[in-house]
Symmetry: C2
Subunit: 333 residues, 2 copies
DNA sequence: CCTCCTCAGTAGAACGTTTTACCCCGCTGC
DNA sequence: GCAGCGGGGTAAAACGTTCTACTGAGGAGG
């Protein structure tokens, strides 16, 4: 219970508290002999630096905030794993916030992060109104957008080209012979969903087909359960030649429902997901999907953020855009 | 950049800093009129409490630590979702640590949590040596074990009965006619893996079969990839009647490899997983599994932890043990 | 009229670091 | 012999809260 402070370490090592602080933060500035004495005292007393005191005085912490849309989605856990690896390798802690697609929850999480005075924030925003993010930046919190393009030049962002992804996915379905395609998507307030639709439309146009060949089915969540519901609706309304889903969770739900209804995939209906989560390859009919470099996304975003935090002068803002990759499996054979 | 402090709020509202603090922490102690003046000043200035200063002075923070074994495993993300919901509902932030099964990484994460002076820690330990946890406790950090039974009475723990789970799983396989069972498991240093094996052996014994009917295949990780490798080995050595996997990720890997090799599941080999992750039901052959109340696990553990933190006097330590539930699907028909 | 209480609020000392300004000492160069 | 310098260290003032002890003001009770 009694927590040992820098002062006691100093007393034991026969130096001043300032020197202990130097050993902790700028070991080079301390003579080798004294440094060893201090380090020994630290070990003997089991001293652990009080992060809050340090943050308070130094004006910045060694924690990052990570705000994601759905922690249950393997896409985001892969991103989170990348973030966590990079951050903890550099001695930073990560505070996780799950906005669960709700803007209110996202705001609550950002508030918590602001109170904690995190050094920087990695965020996949739930919607397009990024002014509240500017407010954070004004208060000195660095920000990197993840899986979202930059909304202003003086900012880092790491994203994947969703229009290209949607285009490639639907082009693939059309190449397989489909002429009527359903797009099962999460809320169109989500940028990714809109852009993938945009790409889908471009693919139709490139094939000389009218835009109304794309039948849009919007769900309220991007989960397998929502996918099941959407598939049930499709069954009731009449099936298209192919279904393109805005992510793999939706696609797995669609797949499950279609198979249960005796629909053959891909013979009756071809199916494409998005994200290429690990489970896509293991599903009942293995799922074609658009692969994204998720883990890399997390790592690189974190690297940019830490660079911006630690070398504010030299830092050059970057807008990185990855290209997704088509992975064709049974569901579109 | 210039951060507004409690002092400026006080000046604007024409009160002392102490009163502002009271408005923040004990609104009841302040007359309604003054409180409103203060709240207005807070709004106008965009004041956000400095969490570190608060922690430093008050002696405890409003953050919890969560240390899990594998953030890529849906089992743990479900737990994490439960933790996050409960914690953020009560105004706490969650610092996430992924030990990735490595003890060294777990220790590094715990160190970070100690520095942050988190109010309490939720942890699924990577191994059985819990003395380092006692060290945390001595320093005043409350601790709740998640998916692990308590190692001492003065401590809360929320777990699921793994011996019963292993027993039920293998009993189910034996009831289906299997006489030789392979147990594909992660490192046996992990308690869950050992106890499920124990249960498996008990099931054999109850059926009057010798323990050597259980062929143990130990992998280095509990991932789909490790499962694929284990299945390849089984194929080389000669297949058993049934395979019981220590978790669903392993089982999905095993399934994928078996099917690719032309083995029919369940006709040639029956297969059981563990955890009943969402994806188990959607796999090529839908997977029988042992369901655990994951989200509840996270919620309840957090509730116990917060109770212990906030009412240290009244708190009664609890050892909660859930029972897993058998979910039979195609892979064991 | 005096004492005692409660209510509402204040002043000021913590909390454990980091940082700034400064000191001392021995050495170098002239 | 002395100015100048740099290495190694110290003292003390912050940082923004919370908390403890205290002050007045207004009643209530005797």
């Amino acid at each position: 219970m009694t927590t040992v402070s820098i002062r006691e370490v100093a007393a034991r090592a026969g130096v001043s508290p300032g020197t202990v602080s130097n050993v902790l933060n700028r070991p080079g500035k301390v003579a080798a002999a004294t440094r060893e004495r201090v380090e020994e005292a630290i070990r003997e007393l089991g001293f652990v630096r009080h992060g809050s005191a340090s943050t308070l005085r130094a004006g910045h912490s060694r924690t990052l905030g990570l705000s994601v849309i759905d922690i249950g989605n393997p896409f985001f856990t892969d991103v989170a794993a990348g973030v966590e690896d990079m951050a903890s390798g550099r001695g930073y802690a990560v505070i996780l916030g799950n906005s669960a697609g709700s803007r209110a929850k996202e705001e609550r999480n950002l508030r918590v992060l602001a109170e904690q005075r995190v050094r920087g924030v990695l965020i996949t925003p739930t919607d397009e109104d990024l002014t509240r993010l500017d407010r954070l930046r004004e208060r000195g919190t660095r920000l990197v957008l993840v899986d979202h393009p930059a909304h202003r030049p003086d900012q880092c962002a790491v994203a994947v080209d969703d229009v290209a992804g949607g285009r490639a996915a639907v082009a693939h379905l059309l190449a397989g012979g489909a002429r009527r395609v359903a797009y099962v998507t999460g809320p169109l307030t989500i940028r990714q969903c809109r852009e993938r639709r945009q790409g889908a439309l471009e693919a139709l146009e490139a094939a000389g087909l009218a835009p109304d060949r794309l039948q849009v089915a919007e769900t309220t969540a991007m989960t397998a359960r929502a996918g099941e519901k959407a598939a049930a609706d499709l069954l009731a309304e009449g099936l298209p030649d192919a279904v393109f889903c805005a992510n793999d969770l939706l696609a797995l739900g669609v797949l499950r429902t279609l198979l249960q209804a005796g629909v053959r995939v891909p013979d009756d209906v071809a199916l494409m997901g998005y994200d290429d989560i690990d489970f896509a390859a293991a599903s009942a009919v293995s799922l074609s999907s658009m692969r994204q470099p998720t883990y890399q996304l997390g790592r690189i975003a974190t690297e940019l953020l830490l660079d911006e935090c630690e070398n504010p002068g030299a830092h050059a803002h970057q807008h990185i855009m990855f290209q997704p990759e088509l992975v064709a499996r049974e569901s579109t054979r």
